[in-house]
Subunit: 141 residues, 4 copies
C-alpha cells in the first residue's frame, strides 16, 4: 500500500493527542490528515491559486478507518494522494503508518470541492490544478 | 430529519474551535459527535457494562459530511441514533444543527465494534445492550 | 471570590477535554479562559474597535493555577474581570468554578497589550475602551 | 539563553495549531511545553516512579510569555530545565525558539508538586528524583 503514495509527511504524536482512553483520540487522526492535505495543497500550488482567484478548495466529506490504536510515543508517516478527479471536485486518500514498524494504523479519504466564494457555489477545477495533481501523483489523464 | 432523533446534546461552539479559515475546524465536528456518542453511551448504560466485563465499544470508522460552515458564536444541537445493529457492531448516525436557525450544518456516522479487550477481538453485542439501544431509539427488534 | 466578578460565561466540559490522566488537560483551562476573554471583549465592544482602527489586543502573558482536577461530566462557571488598567495594557483575572458545587477549580490572569499592527508596537489604550472596562467591572477611574 | 538548557525537544507546528487569528493559538504553547515536560519526565525516570509508588507529579501553576507570533509552517525547538528544587515541588522553565531563525518566541514556567495520591496530599520529592534532575540539568546540590 505504501508504494501507492508519492507525497508523505511525518507527524510526531504528541502526548496531548491522547484522550482519557490513553490512546490517540479519533478526532486527531483528522488533524493528521489535515496536516497532510495542507502539505499536499502546497505541493500542487494551491495557496497561490487561492489568492489569485477567489476560488478555493473546501472539504465536504471526511472519513477515517481506525485500524490500530496509537499511543504516545509514536511517529506517523502519512501518505496522501488523489484517487479521483471530477469536474469540480477531487477525492483524496490517506494512509497512516507507524514509522517504526511500518504498520498501517488508519486510512481515510476526503472529497474536496472547488468553490467560487464570490458566487458561493462549486466551480470547475482549474486545468492547471488538475495537471499539477496528475504530475504529483503520476496519474494518466 | 430532526424527528428521526430522540437523543440530543447541545454544544456551545468555542471561539477556539475555529481554525485559520475563521470557521469551525473539520476535526472539531468529530469532537462534537464524540460528545454526543459519550452521552448516548451513558444513556444506554455503557459505562457500567465496560467495567463489569472487560468488553467495550471501539469506533472503527467515522465519517462526516460538512454542509455549512459554522462560525463562532453559535450553538449546535447534535442528534444521535443507532441506524443498524449487527452481531458485534452497531452504526451510529449524527446530525448537527444550528440551534438558532435549525439549519443542518453537518451529518455523519460511525461504526462501533464491541471489543473483548482480554481476547483482543470483536465479541457479540450483549443482548441487554441491544435492548437498551432499541428502547432508547424506539426501534423494532 | 465569586462576587468580585460581574462578567461570566458557562463552559460545559467536553469528554474530549480530558487527557490520558483522565482529567481535563491543563492547556484546556487556557481555552476556557480564552472563551471568557472573547466574551468579555465583545462586552466591552472590542470587535468593533478592531476593524475600525487596525489596533487590537494581544495576550502577552497567561498564567493559570490548577487547584482541583476536573473530570467529565462537569460544567464550569468562568468569571473574568480587569484588575489593572495601564497606559497600553490591562490585566485580566479569571476564576473557574464547578457549577454544581461552587468549588473553585482554577484561577489565572493574563496581560493584554494594545497593539498597533500597522506600526507593530504597543499603543495607548483608547479612552473609550478604558471607560467601557470601568463600566463593565464597576471600577473607579 | 539557549545554553541554559540541556534537554530539548523539537515540535513541528501543525496547520491546525493556528486559530482564527491565523497564528498559533495561545493554549497550544502550553501543549508544546507539556510535550517537553513529558519528555523531561521520561528522561528523569518519572514514569517508572509513578507505577511503583502511587506518587506522581502534578502541575499546579503554568505561565507562558508570548514574545512573537508563530505561524504555520514552522518548527520549534523547546528547551526545558529545572530552575528550583523544593521540598515537595520543583519549578520547570521552558523556552521556545524558531528552529530556522533561532528567535525566541515564548518562554514560561510551571510548578510541579509531588503528590501522594493515596493520601491526596503533597509528599517530599524522592531523593533519587532530585538526583536525576541535578544530573540531567547539571545542577549543584
Amino acid at each position: 500500500m505504501r508504494e501507492s503514495f508519492r507525497h508523505w509527511i511525518t507527524v510526531p504524536v504528541r502526548w496531548g493527542d491522547m484522550d482519557a482512553f490513553e490512546h490517540v483520540n479519533n478526532a486527531k487522526f483528522f488533524t493528521f490528515c489535515e496536516s497532510a492535505r495542507i502539505s499536499y495543497f502546497e505541493a500542487i500550488g494551491l495557496t497561490v491559486h487561492r489568492r489569485a482567484t477567489d476560488q478555493a478548495p473546501a472539504v465536504v466529506t471526511a472519513t477515517c478507518n481506525f485500524r490500530q490504536q496509537v499511543h504516545y510515543p509514536a511517529t506517523l508517516d502519512v501518505g496522501i494522494r488523489t484517487i479521483k478527479i471530477g469536474r469540480s471536485s477531487f477525492t483524496l486518500e490517506y494512509a497512516l503508518f507507524l514509522k517504526d514498524s511500518g504498520e498501517l494504523v488508519a486510512d481515510g479519504s476526503s472529497v474536496v470541492v472547488w468553490v467560487d466564494y464570490a458566487e458561493n457555489k462549486s466551480a470547475p477545477l482549474p486545468e492547471r490544478l488538475k495537471e499539477r495533481i496528475r504530475e504529483l501523483d503520476g496519474l494518466e489523464e
